[in-house]
């Protein structure tokens, strides 16, 4: 992520309508903006929305007050536009909000809350070493795509894009409590997937 001074220099460039600043910003932030849009709309629409938003930003940047990070501001604009677009579409209904445990995880405990199917020894394999494994990377991709949209967007913004919980909550328009539950549920699904992959090599 850009440091404060780098970010300020970038914002100044955007305000001067400096084309190279736009090129740089577009490459830095479009990924996060796409993740924000994809919480609500399909991938193709998300791409359109991010493009549209950048054109709006050219006019809007003078009004950016720096109360949030530039990235959060951009993501919020995209998310608002996505929300406008689908307002009457049926949204995913968030039912079992109260339970922070994924059903597959819940099933691994006895009635008394002890592990009945504990995790195998994880070993010292670092994240870097795991990332070398292309099949595993593809498998993670696949499972991230298969998450319910609300979980996917929170996971993408929080873990992959490195935003803070409160920023994610502002962008997706859910309480911080709900964001934490969605994040935790998504991580459990991915954890279960990685665990299975390590055990039998299948995705």
């Amino acid at each position: 992520m850009a440091s404060d001074t780098e970010e300020q220099a970038l914002i100044d460039g955007l305000r001067r309508r400096d084309q190279s600043a736009y090129q740089k910003a577009v490459r830095l932030y479009s990924g996060a903006m796409m993740a924000a849009a994809r919480s609500m709309v399909d991938p193709a629409t998300a791409e359109d929305l991010v493009q549209e938003t950048w054109l709006v930003v050219i006019d809007a940047i003078d009004g950016f007050e720096g109360r949030s990070a530039l990235k959060t501001w951009l993501c919020t604009i995209v998310a608002n536009r996505a929300r406008n677009r689908l307002r009457s579409r049926k949204r995913e209904v968030l039912t079992d909000f109260q339970s922070p445990l994924d059903p597959a995880m819940e099933a691994r405990f006895s009635q008394g809350g002890q592990w009945s199917q504990p995790t195998a020894h994880w070993g010292a394999e670092s994240a870097e070493a795991l990332m070398e494994n292309e099949a595993l990377r593809n498998c993670i991709d696949k499972h991230v795509q298969a998450l319910p949209e609300s979980q996917r967007s929170v996971l993408a913004l929080r873990d992959m894009q490195g935003l803070k919980s409160e920023e994610v909550s502002q962008i997706v328009g859910l309480s911080e409590g709900n964001v934490r539950v969605l994040l935790h549920r998504a991580r459990q699904r991915i954890f279960t997937m990685i665990e299975g992959f390590r055990k039998n090599g299948r995705c």
Binding site: R17, Q19, Y22, Q23, V26, R27, S30, G31, M34, A35, R38, V50, Q51, E52, W54, L55, V56, I58, D59, A60, G63, F64, R81, N84, R85, L86, R87, S88, R89, P100, E106, F109, G112, G113, Q114, W115, P118, T119, W122, E125, A127, E128, L130, M131, I140, D141, V144, Q145, A156, D159, M160, Q161, G162, L183, H184, R187, I190, F191, I194, E195
Partner: protein, 276 residues
């Protein structure tokens, strides 16, 4: 005492360091004693770290090249004489400004669907204005018919009618309509400088005397209906305007004056397609 399931429930907050002190101590105590939970937590944290190194479906390269081009065009357009002064159009507020009433995006209502299809066929997209009206299908239909009668049919030129719409909206301070009709006027052949003169200098560049007189009448009647003089109307008549032309010019003024108030009341944002 926490059991293993409790610890699993708190796992994300634990690895993110977001647990309150009390829970933190309880989880630490449990992990100290429980081998299974230690393994789980190590694996769970490794999973998160792995995700942190993953970027979700990288943005395709063509996305950037397309966007660079679009931004370049937009920047170039801006550096020419401004069609709309930057301060009139402030989408900056979009980050916080939700419309007070959301438009209808999709619907099963047959009447609304039929009208939307008609709008789309003529305008290329359904503006947010009509999406808001769509909550009341009869009013949507009525207003769309007004647009069709006044703008697509009638006796005055489309350019004059868009000019009336633009100046009325300018005087009423409705950014949505100013942006929309300014871009329409450019599509209809006016230069940015002409549009600027029209909006900000009370001029009628490129319009014939009759059209200029009708434009002046419509603008005046929106600003100060009680103060409209017979001289103003006679000026249009002398330039050749018949009664029907007078009524149509006032009809356009009336239509956009009402749209201005509706849009500004509900803070309905300009749809991007309209600005292009």
């Amino acid at each position: 005492m926490l059991n293993c399931r409790d610890v699993t429930r708190l796992a994300s907050d634990w690895i993110d360091g977001e647990l309150p002190l009390r829970d933190r101590l309880r989880v630490r105590t449990h992990l100290w004693m429980c081998r299974h939970c230690r393994r789980f937590m190590a694996g769970f944290e490794a999973g998160r770290d792995l995700l942190r190194k993953t970027s979700q479906s990288p943005v395709p390269a063509r996305f950037y090249t397309q966007l660079d081009r679009a931004i370049e065009q937009q920047l170039r357009r801006q550096s020419g004489p401004a069609v709309v002064a930057a301060e009139t159009f402030s989408p900056a507020e979009e980050a916080s400004n939700q419309p007070f009433v959301e438009g209808v995006a999709e619907t099963d209502n047959h009447k609304v669907r039929r009208i939307f299809a008609d709008i789309e066929a003529r305008e290329g997209h359904v503006p947010n204005l009509f999406r808001a009206y769509a909550h009341h299908p009869e009013i949507l239909e009525h207003n769309w018919n007004r647009v069709k009668t006044l703008m697509y049919d009638g006796i005055l030129s489309l350019r004059l009618k868009n000019a009336i719409a633009a100046v009325v909206s300018q005087d009423n301070g409705c950014e949505y309509c100013v942006v929309y009709h300014s871009s329409m006027l450019q599509t209809l052949g006016m230069t940015p400088r002409q549009v600027e003169a029209l909006l900000h200098q009370d001029q009628a560049p490129g319009f014939a005397p009759q059209e200029a007189a009708l434009l002046q009448l419509a603008r005046h009647s929106n600003r100060d209906p009680q103060g409209t003089t017979l001289a103003l109307i006679d000026q249009a008549r002398e330039a050749g305007a018949r009664e029907a032309a007078l009524i149509e010019a006032l009809g356009v003024m009336e239509l956009y004056s009402s749209f201005n108030k509706f849009l500004d009341t509900l803070k309905i944002p300009l749809d991007v397609a309209a600005g292009e």
